[in-house]
C-alpha cells in the first residue's frame, strides 16, 4: 500500500486562493432552522489566532449527509478565515442527530477542521449543539469521558438569541479543546 502524502502547514497566505465567496453561509438543498455558530480561536497564550482557516461539515436537519452542490460549491460545507480578533462565524442550519455503524446515535454536532500557520497538520474536532446533559451517550462524548474536557466542545446558545451558538476554541493550555483523530 503506498504511503499517504504527508501534511504540511497551510501557511499564512491562503486567504486569496482558498476562501470561497460567502463560504461562511453553509448551503443545503432544503430548508431548516437557521443558526449561526460563532466564536474565537486562541493560542496557548490566550492571544487570538487571526490567520486560521476554519472549515465545517455537518448533517442536514434530518441527520443525512448532503451529497450534492449548488453548481458552485458543495452542500453542507463551510469555510471561513478568522479575523483580527480570531473570530469566525458560520451561518448554517441546525444538524439533526444521526446513526453510525452498529446503531450508535450521534447527538447534533458539526465537524470542525482548523488549518493555520504553525499547524503542520489539521486540527480536527466536533462541536456539540445540545446541552451537556443530553450528549452523554454520544460516542465522542463517551470516548472523551472527562466532563470538564467534554465541556470544551459544547457550544452555548446566546441568552438573547437562541439561534446563535457561541463556541471559543483554545488550541493549547488552560481550557484546551479536545481534538480528535479518526
Amino acid at each position: 500500500m503506498p504511503k499517504p502524502t504527508p501534511s504540511q502547514t497551510v501557511g499564512p497566505f491562503f486567504a486569496r486562493d482558498l476562501l470561497w465567496k460567502d463560504g461562511g453561509i453553509v448551503l443545503f438543498p432544503g430548508r431548516g432552522d437557521r443558526m449561526t455558530l460563532t466564536g474565537c480561536v486562541f493560542d496557548g497564550n490566550g492571544a487570538p489566532i487571526y490567520d486560521a482557516l476554519f472549515e465545517t461539515w455537518q448533517a442536514d436537519p434530518t441527520g443525512r449527509f448532503p451529497s450534492g452542490h449548488d453548481g458552485a460549491r458543495p452542500y453542507g460545507y463551510g469555510r471561513v478565515s478568522t479575523d483580527t480578533d480570531g473570530r469566525y462565524a458560520i451561518e448554517t442550519v441546525k444538524p439533526g442527530s444521526f446513526t453510525g455503524p452498529g446503531g450508535a446515535t450521534y447527538s447534533p454536532q458539526i465537524s470542525v477542521a482548523i488549518f493555520a500557520r504553525g499547524l503542520l497538520k489539521a486540527l480536527h474536532t466536533r462541536v456539540f449543539l445540545a446541552p451537556i446533559d443530553l450528549i452523554k451517550d454520544d460516542p465522542l462524548a463517551r470516548a472523551i469521558g472527562d466532563l470538564e474536557r467534554l465541556r470544551t466542545l459544547v457550544a452555548t446558545p446566546d441568552p438573547d438569541d437562541p439561534k446563535i451558538y457561541r463556541w471559543d476554541v483554545r488550541l493549547r493550555g488552560a481550557g484546551e479543546a479536545v481534538f480528535i483523530e479518526f
Partner: protein
C-alpha cells in the same frame, strides 16, 4: 482489501524549530474515535473542468522568479509578476490525474529564524471522496539545498520527506515552453486506522 495501519509520515503538531508551532500545537493527546458518517461522507464538488469528480484540488504558491505571494498580507516587498494569478483549481479525471500549468516559484524569506528562506514550494489543498481524506500540503522541487534546513519540510519524519518532492519529468511539460514535473498524491482510505497511534 483490509486496510492496514499505515506508516506515520505526518509531522507532529509540536516542532519547536518551526516557531509558530510552540503556541498552537495542542498539549493534550488526540482522542481517538471510530469513524462515523461525518468522516466517511464528504462534500461533493461541481464538475467544473474535467471528467468525473474524484477530487477537488487547489494549488497556490509563489510567483517566479522573485518569490512573492500575490496576496495582500504578504509583507515581503518583491515585485509581483503581473502575469501570474498564483492559483489553480482543478478536478482530477477518471484516473485521478491532474495537470496544472504555472510558473516555477522562487525561494522566499521568512521571519522564523535569522536569514531564513523557505525552499521553493507550491501549496496543495485537496478534497477526496470523504471528509477524512481532506489534505493540505506543499510540493517541493528536487535538488533544492534549502530543503535540508527548512523546519517545515524537516518536520516530516524521514520516511515521508521524499513523498513531498516532485520528480522532473520533461515529457509532462510543454515542448519548448515549460518544464514538466510529476507529483502523485496519496490520501488515506476513509476508514483507515489513524496515523501515529
Amino acid at each position: 482489501m483490509a486496510e492496514t495501519r499505515p506508516v506515520d509520515v505526518h509531522p507532529p503538531y509540536l516542532y519547536p524549530d518551526y516557531k509558530s508551532t510552540r503556541l498552537r500545537a495542542p498539549a493534550q493527546p488526540l482522542v481517538r474515535v471510530a469513524p462515523s458518517p461525518l468522516e466517511t461522507a464528504g462534500p461533493v464538488f461541481p464538475k467544473r473542468f474535467v471528467g468525473e469528480s474524484e477530487a477537488d484540488l487547489t494549488t497556490w504558491g509563489t510567483s517566479a522568479p522573485l518569490g512573492e505571494n500575490p496576496h495582500p498580507v504578504d509583507d515581503h516587498d518583491a515585485p509581483l509578476d503581473p502575469n501570474f494569478l498564483g492559483k489553480g483549481q482543478v478536478l482530477t479525471d477518471d484516473e485521478g490525474r491532474y495537470r496544472v500549468v504555472t510558473v516555477k516559484p522562487g525561494a522566499y524569506p521568512w521571519q522564523n529564524h535569522p536569514f531564513g528562506w523557505r525552499p521553493a514550494h507550491i501549496h496543495f489543498s485537496l478534497f477526496g471522496n470523504a471528509y477524512a481524506q481532506r489534505l493540505i500540503t506543499q510540493m517541493f522541487f528536487p535538488g533544492d539545498p534549502l530543503l535540508a534546513i527548512d523546519p517545515i519540510f524537516q518536520s516530516v519524519p524521514e520516511a515521508g520527506r521524499k513523498l513531498l518532492i516532485a520528480d522532473l519529468d520533461l515529457e509532462q511539460g510543454i515542448e519548448g515552453v515549460a518544464l514538466g514535473y510529476r507529483w502523485d498524491l496519496v490520501v488515506r482510505g476513509p476508514r483507515a486506522t489513524p496515523m501515529g497511534v
